[in-house]
């Protein structure tokens, strides 16, 4: 009778008796995964906590509304750097977003053409190039030819850094849109560009916004290219063709100074930068998920 048992059935019987062992192994593995996740989060929480602890003391309303004071003069703020960062990142977005979105559509629609392959390859290379190189490049193209540092050259450098990120995320998000949606639109007699604009982009929107946010978060914290381009400015300026203060550059200036008072301000500025980027991220995510819910009908 026993001999009638097939090897598979026999294995099933054995497995049934190993139930407890399996259960324990399962729990241990799950615990290990949880531990790894915890380890991955620790640096983030640590950095955040540390920046808050060091920076929160120097924060005040004045810090957001005043201009920097010379060494030794108490008070003062980073209004110029907040506005400057907004301007430079804004320029970067204005250049980068239209270019990367349209290029992403091209790569999506014609992935195997020479140009499509070229774009994908060069964005991969570009995203690996250190940001300081972009700074030097923008310096050569803009600053040297114009003879002075400017907000515009800073925005240009950041746009080059941002483009590969936004382009590749957008392309990946477009690939996730079901092909049947594209077919549905084309079958109604929509031209390619109409389909892209009216169906693909809305369907991929939340992912595209995530890509843009990733790009902004990345470039908003870039200090190295700013040294060669926006240069920094102790005064309030909104002129695009003049040097301009930015948050990461301000952190750099404060942090390398030998003055205690400035070092505290470096921490506070870092805190402001992190908070602004996170705030922007939360708002964008909120808008994206609200829109998504509306489209999906809850």
């Amino acid at each position: 009778m026993e001999s009638a048992l097939s090897p598979v059935r026999a294995a099933q019987h054995r497995a049934r008796s190993n139930y407890r062992t399996r259960q324990i192994v399962n729990r241990v593995m799950l615990a290990l995964c949880g531990l790894a996740a915890l380890i991955a989060v620790i640096p983030l929480v640590w950095i955040l906590g540390y920046v808050v602890q060091r920076g929160v003391g120097a924060l005040s309303l004045d810090f957001f509304t005043q201009l920097p004071t010379p060494v030794g003069v108490p008070g003062g703020g980073i209004l110029n750097a907040i506005v400057g960062s907004a301007i430079v990142v804004g320029i970067a977005c204005a250049i980068s977003i239209p270019v990367s979105l349209t290029a992403a559509f091209y790569v999506y629609a014609r992935p195997n053409t020479l140009l499509g392959t070229l774009i994908r390859f060069s964005t991969d290379v570009l995203s690996g190039v250190p940001s300081i190189i972009m700074g030097i490049f923008a310096y050569t193209v803009f600053v040297l030819t114009q003879g002075h540092f400017s907000a515009l050259s800073g925005g240009f450098a950041l746009a080059i850094i941002m483009t590969p990120i936004v382009l590749r995320t957008t392309e990946e998000m477009l690939k996730l849109v079901p092909k049947t949606l594209r077919d549905g639109s084309l079958a109604l007699g929509a031209a390619d560009w109409r389909t892209a604009l009216n169906v693909l982009l809305p369907a991929a929107m939340s992912g595209v916004i995530t890509g843009i946010m990733l790009g902004i978060a990345r470039v908003a914290g870039e200090a190295a290219p700013m040294l060669f381009t926006a240069f920094g400015n102790p005064f309030f300026s909104t002129a695009l063709d003049q040097p301009i203060a930015t948050l990461p550059h301000q952190i750099y200036v404060y942090a390398i100074s030998p003055y205690r008072d400035w070092q505290d301000k470096a921490w506070a500025t870092a805190l402001v930068l992190i908070a602004l980027v996170m705030g922007l991220e939360i708002i964008a995510r909120g808008v994206a998920s609200w829109q998504e819910r509306k489209l999906r009908g809850r």
């Binding site: 084309l186 007699g189 109409r194 809305p202 509306k294 489209l295």
Partner: protein, 280 residues
């Protein structure tokens, strides 16, 4: 408020049909010596077929015999497939849709398509329906409102959605979504309607609704449907084309006739085996 307009869109051939009762209606689409290739692989071989005007033609056959490929050549959806190539002619009202000077976009506006899985756009019901008319440049809100009502009535969906036109099309059930896709297609008033297994993702109740709808649409449109379901072909179609895969894996058309003939008195042994369920 809409019946008048619907009468106007009736093609002239309808009246002709009642005169010559037994003769086959004039073909709306004609496939002549058509070969279809994916790269060097021949997927369809020597297809000759006619689709009579204002009739429902079913394309049946075992899996992989090229039914969907054939259907997609009829509105040039295969243009999207890299290395796809068509030889021969496909005539729509006597004009070759693969002629070099033929505009793909206008072909697709005259030949609409309903897909296997419902694919409403992630937009409101209203915006789904007016998507095509908007592409045609219709901007007048009143006209668009009328198109929405007419199309949704035409796809037997109006009563179920008239109070929630501005809710997402994706919130509807599968059968409703498919009828929304039909409404979206008839909103551009095509002449030919292609349906690629339109009920395969639907439950029996929704399937019956779509089939009823097809019988209604038949008055205004030439309908071509691909189906795996032989009962469905027998129930709804006037004509049936039977396809098979040849040993070299190319799809071929082995029999075309009135549906009643195909199911009761098939000429080809393979058709008989297939429709009686002996294989496939």
């Amino acid at each position: 408020m809409m019946s008048h307009e619907q009468v106007q869109v009736l093609p002239p051939a309808l009246s002709m049909r009642s005169v010559q009762k037994d003769a086959a209606p004039s073909p709306k689409m004609l496939v002549r010596n058509m070969n279809f290739y994916y790269g060097s692989f021949r997927a369809l071989a020597d297809i000759n077929l006619e689709f009579p005007e204002n009739q429902i033609t079913a394309i049946i056959g075992p899996s992989g015999c090229g039914k969907s490929t054939l259907l997609r050549t009829l509105d040039r959806m295969n243009d999207l497939v890299p290395h796809a190539r068509v030889e021969g002619e496909i005539l729509l009202d006597g004009e070759n849709i693969y002629a070099p000077n033929m505009d793909v976009v206008s072909v697709r506006r005259r030949v609409g398509m309903v897909f296997q899985r419902p694919n409403p756009f992630p937009k409101s019901i209203y915006d789904n329906v007016i998507y095509g008319p908007r592409l045609l440049g219709i901007r007048d809100k009143k006209v668009l409102d009328e198109i929405v009502e007419k199309s949704l009535r035409g796809s037997a969906l109006w009563d179920e959605v008239k109070d929630k036109l501005h809710e997402s099309g994706l919130a509807l059930s599968g059968g409703q979504q498919q009828r929304l896709c039909i409404a979206r297609m008839i909103a551009v008033e095509p002449e030919v309607v292609l349906m690629d297994e339109p009920c395969s993702a639907l439950d029996p109740v929704a399937t019956i609704k779509i089939e009823d709808l097809m019988r209604d649409l038949r008055n205004n449109y030439t309908i071509i449907i691909v189906t795996h379901n032989m009962q469905q072909a027998a129930r709804v179609s006037d004509y049936t084309a039977m396809m098979m895969m040849r040993p070299d894996r190319a799809g071929e058309m082995i029999e075309f006739n009135k549906t009643r003939q195909i199911f009761t008195n098939p000429q080809d042994k393979r058709t008989e085996d297939y429709v009686t369920g002996r294989f496939g």
